[in-house]
């Protein structure tokens, strides 16, 4: 079960979010301020922080958390929407969601962060594929055989899985996987995506897993 540390001073909002997240199957520890934070840090998978808090503000708490535990993803949840605030927050936090928010969006963002930090040992089921996200094993459920990928194909798919449901441009994919800046007209990425599709799609001519978003890029949607 995913354990969430949630700091929010507004009682109504705190109750609502804790209740909703608990109903969705998360274990939520809700604090009204940063007091007594330290004892929870080692036992949590993710932190949700408000910014305007009595005593230490959310930014300071976030920085402390990151200093104590770099591997704990932080999502800022604030009614402060100014660009400056977002920039300050994103200096250390992994995501910044503004109020009023929809709980579905909050959960979606939490899931992205958990996957990025490989906290969830989810078994993803994508069409006919079953993926073990921690060790990135891929099983074709039609044949019950494991699909073996080459290095770049593996990293490419891993990059898609970490950014599940997000549309990724060619530039983002190339730079994320190859670690070099993308040169307009370079076909390397397309070639690798074609090979990857040949391995994982039932019909590579009509891809169902790696979707082409015309004019923008690609997406792997859950």
């Amino acid at each position: 079960m995913i354990r969430i540390l949630y700091i929010e001073d507004e009682k109504e909002i705190g109750q609502w979010v804790s209740k909703d997240l608990t109903e969705r199957g998360y274990e939520v520890t809700w604090l009204e301020s940063g007091d007594g934070l330290e004892q929870h840090l080692s036992s949590k998978d993710i932190a949700i922080l408000d910014v305007m808090l009595p005593g230490l503000d959310g930014f300071s708490i976030g920085k402390r958390i990151k200093r104590a535990n770099k591997e704990l993803p932080i999502l800022m949840l604030s009614a402060r929407t100014a660009v400056e605030d977002k920039i300050e927050g994103l200096n250390f936090a992994d995501d910044y969601l503004t109020k009023p928010f929809h709980p579905d969006e909050l959960v979606a963002r939490l899931e992205v962060l958990l996957r990025r930090y490989q906290k969830s040992d989810d078994v993803l089921e994508l069409q006919h594929l079953k993926m073990y996200t921690k060790d990135m094993r891929i099983i074709n459920t039609l044949t019950e055989e494991e699909i073996l990928l080459t290095g770049k194909q593996f990293y490419l798919l891993q990059y898609f899985i970490r950014h599940l449901n997000q549309i990724l441009t060619k530039e983002q994919l190339y730079e994320g996987v190859w670690g070099e800046s993308y040169i307009e007209g370079d076909k390397t990425l397309m070639v690798h995506i074609r090979y990857l599709r040949e391995k994982i799609e039932i019909n590579p001519a009509k891809p169902m897993i790696i979707e082409t978003i015309r004019g923008i890029g690609y997406r792997v949607k859950l």
Binding site: T81, P100, F101, P103
Partner: protein, 460 residues
């Protein structure tokens, strides 16, 4: 500042030094001459020889010679030579025979004829060397003795010094003049160097864009100027800090206001969400949906209102830089695509590379412009279910075209609040020196955001 620390005082000192140097050099020369004459260095003597005295003595001594003999004359000549080393002497006998000679350089005949004697006397009269002819003893029968002394022996000592040491004195004067020139040059060079340093220091900018303070080393006029400059920098910095503080306060106020408005809005959403979990009638569900839409709209309105207030007060952060605009728009579309997809829009994206894809814009501003335009499409042109984002490239401009198939701007949809969103677009577009056009008719709206090609403009 004390007078003696000033540049003026230094300059006066140099002038005084220059003036006194002339005097000192005269004094120096005098002492030099005096020193030479006193010590009797070389052939100089403090005594001033007079032609008349020499002539008198020569006559007297020749007349008083007790016995005229070769030895006596040789002795006489030797005595005179001791006194006048440069003098030459000779004895010519009565019959014109050249007898004893001392130090004679010229060619003299061994036999003197009356004609030669006359010629000699005529030649030497008033000439150089100074020549004295005297008969020996009282009797002319002993012949005559001649004393030749170079004229310069009679020169005053100073003239001799000038003749011998003239070059040194001339060089000395040149050296003194050069010394003065060098001192003046160094003085002005020093001033110039400090002024240039000051100028350079004034042009250096700190990270905050203000000049940095100068290290004041001297207390003269330039030092005072540097002090004034430092004071000015200090005042500028204070004023800038005050301004930043004010800006900060204003931003803070708006951010707090926005926060205070959004918090209750979040609570409203919390309640509506809780209600939505209950079993509701169709009417109840309808009301909840309306409430949900209102929450979204109020949220957007608050955001726009805050941005607009900051923009109007020129307090909205603006940091333009060259960005690859095609890439930026494409990445920005990745967040909007799912929204339009969810609403069932037909999405038509065609972004062709521009020849010059770099626009100098603030990415946050450009993002905001796109957000507001897309938001408008979503709210006001939802009926068309179409969004197109395309590029257009001509010789004079490059542009993005955002197109919808809504009812057009005149037939405003029920959702209000488009005004402020587009006002923000207008301010931001103009703030980044871009242009924009809206073409709207009942079949749809087309918004064109143009970047005018500067070189094409100049060409026209």
């Amino acid at each position: 500042m004390k007078f003696f620390q000033s540049l003026l005082a230094k300059y006066m000192l140099i002038i005084l030094l220059a003036l006194s140097i002339v005097q000192i050099s005269y004094m120096g020369t005098a002492m030099f001459v005096l020193g030479i004459t006193k010590t009797g260095v070389g052939e100089f003597s403090s005594e001033v020889l007079l032609e008349s005295e020499i002539e008198e003595q020569w006559h007297a001594q020749s007349k008083n010679l007790p016995n005229v003999s070769n030895d006596a004359i040789t002795q006489l000549f030797q005595r005179w030579q001791e006194q006048l080393p440069t003098a030459s002497m000779f004895w010519v006998s009565e019959d014109g025979t050249l007898l004893t000679t001392v130090n004679v350089q010229e060619d003299l005949p061994a036999k003197w004829t009356p004609a030669f004697t006359t010629k000699f006397i005529k030649q030497r009269y008033g000439g150089d060397p100074f020549t004295v002819i005297a008969f020996l003893g009282d009797d002319v029968s002993n012949g005559f003795i001649v004393l030749e002394v170079p004229r310069n022996v009679f020169n005053p000592p100073l003239i001799n010094i000038y003749e011998n040491y003239g070059n040194f004195l001339f060089l000395g004067v040149i050296a003194i003049i050069l010394f003065f020139i060098v001192v003046s040059l160094l003085f002005f060079k020093g001033i110039r160097k400090r002024l240039l340093h000051l100028q350079d220091a004034m042009e250096i900018r700190d990270v905050d864009g203000l000049p940095i303070e100068i290290n004041v080393k001297k207390k003269d006029e330039i030092g005072q100027l540097e002090h004034s400059f430092n004071r000015m920098v200090c005042e500028l910095r204070e004023s800038k800090q005050r301004q930043q503080k004010e800006e900060q306060l204003r931003r803070e106020l708006i951010a707090n206001l926005s926060h205070d408005l959004r918090t209750p809005l979040t609570k409203v959403r919390a309640q509506s969400y809780s209600i939505s979990k209950e079993a509701l009638s169709e009417e109840g569900k309808q009301a909840l949906r309306a409430m949900e839409t209102s929450i979204v709209n109020i949220d957007a309105l608050i955001e726009n209102l805050m941005s607009y207030t900051l923009l109007m007060a020129s307090k909205y952060k603006f940091e333009p830089k060259d960005i690859n605009v095609i890439r930026f728009v494409r990445e920005h579309l990745t967040t909007w695509y799912p929204v339009f997809e969810r609403e069932g829009f037909t999405i038509d994206i065609e972004l062709q590379a521009f020849e010059h894809h770099e626009w100098c814009v603030d990415p946050i501003w450009l993002g905001r412009i796109l957000d507001n335009v897309f938001q408008n499409v979503l709210r006001h042109a939802n009926s068309g279910k179409y969004i197109g984002v395309k590029t257009e490239s001509t010789a004079s401009y490059t542009a993005f075209i955002i197109e919808d198939h809504g009812n057009g701007m005149k037939n405003e949809s029920n959702a209000k609040g488009a005004g402020i969103g587009l006002s923000i677009v207008d301010v931001m577009v103009k703030g980044m020196h871009l242009e924009w056009d809206i073409c709207s008719d009942p079949s749809g709206t087309k918004i064109i955001i143009k970047h005018v090609n500067q070189s094409a403009m100049l060409g026209q």
